[in-house]
Amino acid sequence: MPSALINIAYLIAAILFILGLKGLSHPRTAVRGNLLGALGMFIAIVVTLARGNLSFELIFAGIVVGSAIGVFLAVKIQMTAMPQLVAIYNGFGGIASVLVAGAELVNPIGDATLQPLVAIAASGIIGAITFWGSLVAFGKLQGVGVPDQPVRYPGEQLVKILLLGGSIVLGAMVVLNPAEVEMYWIMAGIASILGVLLVIAIGGADMPVVIALLNSYSGLAAAATGFVLSNSVLIIAGSLVGASGLILTNIMCKAMNRSLANVLFGGFGAIPETAGTDDIYAGKVKRTSPEEAAMLLESASRVVIVPGYGMAVAQAQHAVRDLFNFLESKGVEVEFAIHPVAGRMPGHMNVLLAEADIPYDKLIEMDNINPSMTQVDIAIVLGANDVVNPVARTDPKSPIAGMPIIDVDKAKTVIVIKRSLSPGFAGIPNPLFAADNALMLFGDGKKMIQEIVSALKEA
């Protein structure tokens, strides 16, 4: 196939990717957008196969194996496990870039000018960090192999700087002396260690930021591979993904009022347990029962549910749907208030609630629901903690000071469904639990919601 034709096909693929992402601007057009993106990928693959000078055995073997694994994962994955899946996909994107750049380095007919060589080194470093960082993120989210808590040690930042410096030095050696291929793999190995150390130092609840950032890296790795091959569709697609990940990273950081550097290198792990828990809670926490909660809900006209990671852990989304349906059928206005960092990845709560058939126009963003919070009769906090902690507004010394929260404390009554009074990820007590208008419903999220629903139905 003539190269002009191939490049035009790549251009069409790139345009389809852009249109596909544009389609995601509304749930109505999103399905079609995703299909356009897939069509773009299909076109890119077909023209590449048709370019000539290729033998197909290994290509098809790879496509068959990869498709089988991809289809299996896509069909079998539970919606609550989406953060893990996205984490591992980020990693696969990274390792593919490492391998393609490595293959290009050993390719005996490739040209060894400066641009591809620098790009090979960049692909190898970014890709390896992405792959191993994503594996650690996967482990943290899945609860295998690595602890959910941040792993910290003295001098850790120095170690990371040395590793980064080391991989850049080795990258420069690859560029200066491309014949020594083993340098490339040593470089990738050092970047791998850096990837592990970067993510292992970050706690579970900061995963939304990390996944978004690794998402961005996987795009940048693909773009770097595009520079290796001088291929515009790789550069465009990689830049789109890189931009997407950066935007999400920024949104997540803003939603916690923390800088990216603070999430990556400081974090809540460094903050000691705050004293005075007893002073805040002693004698002021009021317990309630599912029956009492049901009675309160019966007389409410506007209810807001605030889900958090606890809803995902308890798999409570379907029980929540039953509660939603029952209350709606009684003429109660029910909405969901979604904090940007609720859950373990951007949009995590929305996907779970969509899975449970909650209409997306009932999912209200924090900034849109806060102004009317005073008119809410009952706010139900389900498995969320730090994102509803009023200390963020009142105590400038608190680790979450300035973090935007959902103002549930301004509702007439707050029902907090939680296993215990244990602190959230930030490790600080939540005065909301002791507030005059707050009632604690201790127990498993799913079971408590189910008991409220059955109490409502009996009444």
Partner: protein, 103 residues
Amino acid sequence: MDFISALTVFALAIFVGFEVITKVPPTLHTPLMSGSNAISGITIVGAIIAAGLSINPALSEYLVLGYPLTNFLGFLAVVFATINAVGGFMVTHRMLEMFKKKD
């Protein structure tokens, strides 16, 4: 494509990305991540070329064994990139259907 052209494409694509993606509502952020993951599977283009490389255009001869190391690395890359592309688009589709059905 020379370096400056590649850099131009890169810079412009980043701007397009920012424009398009800031319009994605938070409710679709998870499908955005899995969908953009699928798009980063575009590395498959490079992977295919590496996995299938068998003819040296300069020598115009067909090498039956190809270039074993390049081909092998390419094969592994094809596997990973295909998982990304196929799995990414499919799981995104599955999620978006859930958002759609209550429309």
